[in-house]
């Protein structure tokens, strides 16, 4: 397809969509009877409900069903796929990696975001300083991965370095290091990329919540002779606790589902695969439908409690 044809297709799709919506609204706008109002409600709600049923509900149920079936999806195998996940050594490695990601990324991003938010609060260049950290949020994970792959670029110690991390090592007199290849630390260096992306999110939310702490609480604590660090520990931290929890859980959810970094940097090689990437490999590379489905269900099961907790905290936060 040529560029022009693509734009024409796009305009057709948007036009078609608005046409349908306009027809629905015009046809139902004169209805005033009780039955008419019901039809009107249906016109407003049904497009969304139908799309969700077809595109979310049915596929989710089907995937759960497929997770109990074999690679080709034509035979019932009970819990075999789940057993494979928890016994196959390569997949256990995937689970361990995922656990490390989900623990380290939220904690590190939140800690860095919090420290930075406090340090630059009311500083002269606060807005600018915030934008520096926040900018990676607008970048795709693919872009972030390429940026960091270049930082980690490896050359032999004797050669001129083009990756700044190894140039730094060399300047300090160390040998250069294969950041993305050497196990087990390579997973950590991938995690750094995710921390780099997520810290800005943590910083923004926490900074807003620090600014919302009422002055009189701080005033009272100061009159009682609390020192700065005591204030931070005993006033700031407890006051922003709900936001801290929301930030931590939100980043865990994002981390659990992210597969872009692993795919772009190492392709899951050198023992760096995580659950979300392994799902992609089994489903769309190895065509092991059953195992892929089981991995997807596992992500679902792991994400569910965090999301529920997250939403409850968020509602509390909103209610305040």
């Amino acid at each position: 397809m040529s560029t022009g044809e693509k734009f024409v297709q796009m305009l057709i799709a948007i036009g078609l969509f608005f046409g349908v919506v306009a027809v629905i609204l015009l046809l139902t706008q004169r209805l005033r009877s009780r039955r008419g109002e019901l039809i009107q409600s249906a016109a407003f709600v049904l497009p969304a409900v139908l799309l969700i049923c077809v595109g979310l509900l049915y596929p989710a149920l089907d995937t759960i069903y497929q997770s109990f079936r074999n690679a080709a999806g034509n035979e019932f195998v009970g819990l075999d796929n789940y057993q494979t996940i928890f016994t196959d050594s390569a997949l256990i490695r995937v689970l361990v990696n995922t656990a490390v990601w989900v623990v380290v990324v939220p904690l590190a991003s939140t800690a860095i975001g919090l420290i930075y938010a406090v340090l630059i609060d009311r500083a002269k260049f606060e807005k600018f300083a915030k934008a520096l950290i926040f900018l990676p949020m607008a970048i795709s994970l693919v872009g972030a991965s390429i940026i960091w792959k270049f930082v980690y670029d490896y050359r032999q110690t004797s050669d001129a370095q083009i990756g700044i991390a190894n140039a730094f090592l060399k300047a300090l007199g160390f040998d250069t290091y294969r950041f993305l290849l050497n196990e087990p630390w390579n997973t950590m260096f991938l995690i750094v990329i995710m921390i780099w992306v997520q810290a800005g999110f943590a910083m923004t939310i926490l900074s807003a919540s620090i600014k919302a702490i009422p002055d009189d609480i701080v005033e009272a604590a100061r009159l009682d002779g609390a020192s700065g660090l005591q204030l931070f520990r005993q006033i700031t931290i407890p006051s922003i606790r709900p936001s801290l929890i929301v930030v931590l859980t939100t980043i865990s959810i994002t981390t659990l589902k992210a597969f872009d970094i692993v795919r772009t940097t190492t392709g899951g090689n050198f023992d760096t695969s995580v659950l979300a990437y392994q799902f992609y490999v089994e489903s769309f590379r190895s065509f092991n439908q059953g195992l892929g489905a089981a991995l997807a269900v596992l992500i679902f099961v792991l994400v569910m409690p965090i999301v529920i907790y997250n939403v409850r905290q968020m509602r509390k936060l909103e209610a305040r």
């Binding site: 397809m1 796009m10 500083a123 300083a129 795709s140 940026i147 800005g200 701080v218």
Partner: protein, 308 residues
Amino acid sequence: MTTADPNAMSVESVVAKETASSTAHKALTSPWASIVAVVIAILWTVPTAGLLITSFRPEEDITSSGWWTIFTSPKFTLDNYDQVLNGPTALSTYFVNSIVITLPAVIIPVCIATMAAYAFAWMKFPGRDFLFVAVFALQIVPIQVTMIPLLSLYVKLGLTGAEAPGGGFYTIWLSHSIFALPLAIYLLHNFMSQIPGELIESARVDGAGHVQIFSRIMLPLMAPAIAAFGIFQFLWVWNDLLVALVFGGGSPDVSPLTARLAELSGTRGQDWFLLSAGAFVSLVVPLIVFLSLQRYFVRGLLAGSVKG
């Protein structure tokens, strides 16, 4: 306050101006605390700056010396950008794909969700509360869980491949729209239900129907909320890789920039003159959107972060 002179600030009012953060800030403003802030700021900017500078350096320079040597021997070129856009990597094609994917994938779900949110907030029909809770609850479904059945459904409906209507774009548009709905409906519903009921009631007494109330009262009032979600969805779709890979199938006709870049990173991982320029071709649009509409984005950020 005991003094009548507005210019003389009492001790209390000065102290009260200090907030928790500023006190903590002061306590931590030892020299090393400033160093920590500066180090963080440097760590967060240098990687991007390095690749940006690299994208403007001649190919042979990139492979023979670090980008930081640019400060002693500056030498710039636009060749890399010319190469990635018009050379065999053909990023301009993928750039077009990204735009063609993103616009409908933002407009369609935002419209559908706004209508549904209005109905859930202000129309009366049986099963309303149950339906709303169900839609809300479906936010927890990760998109991975839906992909294989959805893909086979598309194949059955004949929506995949270059011969399909829209050249195969419909699968990507539909998928993004569907995945956006639960969150969009929930968020917009939250905003809509805050609008005073008297406003709706008086409009109804004056003889306005739901369609008029929706289009004349609700849409203008909702504009900031819709913008916030729209920007969020825009960045999400533009930066997405998984949906594009699964439903675009890697075809150059429909794959966006992210898919092409991920592929280049695998096949031409050492060709930094391509990767650096390519990365910035894909970054420039979200960065512009983000920088110009940051205000809205931050507002939608917290609420939108559990998506997908």
